[in-house]
Subunit: 207 residues, 2 copies
Amino acid sequence: MARGSQTRQRIMDVAQEAVLDKGFDATSIDEIVANAEITKSGFFYHFRDKNALARALIERHIEIEDALFDDLFERARELSDDPLQQLLIGLKLLAELLSDIPGGHPGCIVATAAYQDRLFDNEVREANRRAVLGWRSRFRDMLETVQQTYPMNEQVSLDHLADMFSVVIEGGLVMARAVNDPRLTEQQVLLLRSYLNLLFSPASRSN
Amino acid sequence: MARGSQTRQRIMDVAQEAVLDKGFDATSIDEIVANAEITKSGFFYHFRDKNALARALIERHIEIEDALFDDLFERARELSDDPLQQLLIGLKLLAELLSDIPGGHPGCIVATAAYQDRLFDNEVREANRRAVLGWRSRFRDMLETVQQTYPMNEQVSLDHLADMFSVVIEGGLVMARAVNDPRLTEQQVLLLRSYLNLLFSPASRSN
DNA sequence: TTCAGAACCGCACTGGTGGTACAGTACCTT
DNA sequence: AAGGTACTGTACCACCAGTGCGGTTCTGAA
């Protein structure tokens, strides 16, 4: 890796840690600069302003999260051939992953961005929007496959249902913070799993 | 109303509008002061610092929201004697209410507070926590009543299920912001309704 | 070996913002 | 008339995002 992008990477690492810990606006550039062992001029050489940093962080975060989901449902596919079981196993794996994070939930940058709308520029909000829509189509695809084998017990929109994955994860992270209970998100993901099970399972059965 | 608390109220009104529109930290005291037609000294007479304002806003918001929930489920009780139907009707009314808000979602102060942890002091976070726990016990009570008549089709924790109300609402508001679709929250509340229906209904039926 | 350009450093400065300090004043009640 | 409540006015401080710009170091291609 070139010298330049190494520094850029280091700035982002330092920034991400601080942002997840205490929020974007509570993280000063001076602080990032100090921890990344660089000067303010150096920072502004790599990022036009704080918005550019936010955008870079969000985009990187999305890539990592996408790769994580890919991995997770790939493993689920290895464990079962049934599309519904794949989905249920994937959610179980996700719940485990959320509980395994040491020191609790790191929080989600997407939510941070969404709730500080005016603090960010259009590009940041667009990156955020793209990420969320990406998740929607990802989960929608999986749900469609499930539906082909298992008719729904109650008619609901697949798009809305796909959004529910994000809603439960994001909402779970927010609430986990609010009550200071890192396990809350995991529990909520399992409830979503329970819903999907009831929605698609032919007979009412517990597992 | 005394002259003092009138001014205090006006400050909070002006602040709330700005905060819901663009976030807490993006709202400057100078701006509030200008719109409330008061001086900076006047502001700091009523609020020790910006944290005190945040706390007051959250506490007032919680009261309003609690009253709103009381009202909503009171109406639901008038419409049906069956505890499950009361819950389902209440959620339907909530969804309608969320879609009726002109100009889309106002956003939720609780989430804002949760995601800017370090920006606020302990008192603010405590107020936030109390609010969320209040909702938990509110919905938990309702779910317990339902469970006495309708055994669950799948065993899940009532506490977690109670939290899911808040999770779906908060998560819905976050996602609605992220994709700029005000109807998203409403749709998600209806999905929660669908889940509860499947979870408690004796036979699988649509309604 | 040279040399252009990328990747920084150093430093001074601006404007906005949260917050303090404190003296003075209008108003209202007793 | 007195005293508290509810402010106003002014001056000030520290911190932070961001700008400007000249200077320096490193690196790879010619």
